[in-house]
């Protein structure tokens, strides 16, 4: 009896020992190596992305000289300022309008490119992607020069139609329009390329079946193209919403937030307050308002990734 009771135990013990040994060697060989290979990445992300993100939370609770804790003082101060609400409004208008138009134009142009014979598509795609390739700081300079009120091209051209001169960057409404226009110009090619790639992956049979059922072009888009492209549309919209919400270059160079703060968005105002105005905590509090949109996007993207993980 005793023997019988002992034997399974000993077997178990040796098994555990063997398992531990193999675990140790595995650790030595694979996991440790893998961990060491990812260590630079982990360090980089922790020190230069995650730590500063939390540090900005801390900074936002300090006073201007960064010596005294003021709690929500900076936020209370912001909420009382008219400029802040102007910036909130403009950021939302800017991001939503620009993203909607970028997606629409990208979608439409992708269809046109998809329509032309395959031989010519490369050429068109190549030309249409140029705005995305030029560094935005450089191309925005070109736009600034195109918008120049007295010497330059747009007003000169419009004068033939007896329109203008328009103060493209001087008038509040036109300045908002210009900033959004440049953003659309820069961002639409990105949508175009992605939508074109996903258009090509829609099986031709679906359209044939729809045509046999007598679907017109609108029904083909609504019932075939859009459902097939749902994922990519959602992900590009989220992506672009984050990037556009956090945009800096275009507004900074084109209007620097002017006239009278009427084109400031969160990033440019944070720069104005934090770097130019020397109030780093207040600037940090301003830029923290970009966080909610980020968090929402993160939730959606995580859900998407998990879903795909389950499908695979």
């Amino acid at each position: 009896m005793v023997d019988v009771a002992f034997q399974p135990n000993s077997v178990l013990e040796t098994r555990v020992v063997r398992k531990r040994a193999s675990l140790r060697t595995a650790l030595k060989r694979k996991s440790t190596a893998a961990f060491l290979m990812t260590l630079p990445l982990i360090l980089l992300v922790t020190i230069l992305v995650i730590y500063p993100a939390f540090y900005s939370l801390h900074l936002a609770t300090l006073n201007k000289s960064m010596q005294r804790f003021v709690g929500f003082g900076n936020f209370e101060f912001l909420f009382k300022r008219e400029t802040f609400w102007l910036v909130v409004k403009q950021s939302c208008i800017f991001a939503i309008t620009a993203v909607v138009f970028k997606a629409l134009i990208g979608f439409i142009v992708a269809h046109f490119v998809h329509n032309v014979p395959a031989k010519g598509q490369r050429k068109w795609r190549g030309m249409l992607l140029v705005p995305w390739v030029i560094p935005p700081a450089m191309s925005t300079l070109a736009w600034l020069w195109l918008f120049d009120p007295s010497y330059s091209a747009f007003n000169y051209t419009l004068s033939f139609f007896h329109v203008g001169p328009i103060a493209w960057t001087g008038d509040a409404y036109w300045a908002r329009f210009s900033v959004i226009l440049v953003n659309i110009w820069f961002g639409a090619p990105f949508f175009m390329i992605l939508y074109l790639a996903s258009l090509k992956s829609v099986p031709e049979q679906l359209y044939e079946a729809a045509a046999i059922d007598g679907a017109n072009w609108w029904q083909r888009i609504w019932y075939v193209t859009l459902p097939m492209m749902r994922n990519i549309i959602a992900i590009t919209l989220l992506f672009s919403l984050i990037v556009t919400f956090a945009n800096f270059d275009i507004v900074r160079i084109l209007t620097a937030g002017g006239p009278l703060d009427h084109t400031h968005i969160f990033a440019t105002w944070a720069f104005r307050v934090g770097i130019e105005g020397g109030d780093i905590p207040l600037g940090a509090s301003v830029s923290l308002f970009m966080f909610p949109i980020l968090a929402i996007a993160a939730v959606f993207i995580l859900r998407d990734i998990n879903q795909r993980g389950n499908e695979a």
Binding site: P40, L41, V45, F112, W145, D148, S152, L194, F239
Partner: protein, 304 residues
Amino acid sequence: MASTVMIDKAAPTRNPAYGSMSRDRAWALKWSYFFLTLFAIFSLVPPLYMLITSLKSSAEISAATNPWWVFHPTLSNYVGLLTSNQFLTFFRNSVLVSIFVVTITMLISVPAAFALSRMRFWGSATLATGVFLTYLIPDTLLFLPLFKMFAVFGDWTGIQLINRWYVLVVVYPTLTVPFCTWIMIGYFASIPKELDEAAIIDGASWLQTLTRIFIPVALPGIIAATIFAFTVSWAQFLYPLVFTTSTDQLVLPVGIITSLVKGDVFNWGQIMTGALLGAAPPLIIYAFLMDYYIAGLTAGATKG
């Protein structure tokens, strides 16, 4: 002849339908070309206008002539910029920063992507997702805390980072590494498992599997990631604007904007020339490696 007649007889009612369909196609094609031309003009006007202006003298720019045409082409703007020490310094700084950043990015992200896609370890899946999420944290959220961090770091250690070009080598990888790692994970995951199993059976170490198998097979992905890293580090505007101020430390985008604008005077000929020269390296790479460029673009988003 005979066969066409046969078809005519066999299906006389179908012919008009075919005719209208192909007529529809022809119309659709015509409209497509028309709108594509419009959009292409919209896309290409700013860069072309850069070129036009860069060929003008400042006298012609301020004269009331047709701005869309060059009447007296001159290369004086190019000569002026390419012989100015200041501009060459900007260019050198940009090149140095980009080379360092691309190297660091690839050294960090390729091994990390390999480990995350092939060598499963505790938390590796979470880490892969986390990497992607950090890519979404924008630079505009981080520049103020980073500015303060570097200032404090300078006080503590005496190593001055603010207002040195190499501070950009420290921060740019935060923009490039997460994305490059992410697309490399995608490329590595698409390599069949049998390939590295065969290598391991032949006695290759993990490092050898990476350098002998994965890197050669995933070369298109690596090129796409390299192009991405270069484009980002060449085009970044916010970080150099915040972290560097003295003219000998600036990179191209910031240098052109801060140094060529003197007071309220915009020397547009030189600014456009500088902008064009600044846009040239990414454009040239794009012209030759367009397919890799597009591959990187689509891989990043569709695999997200």
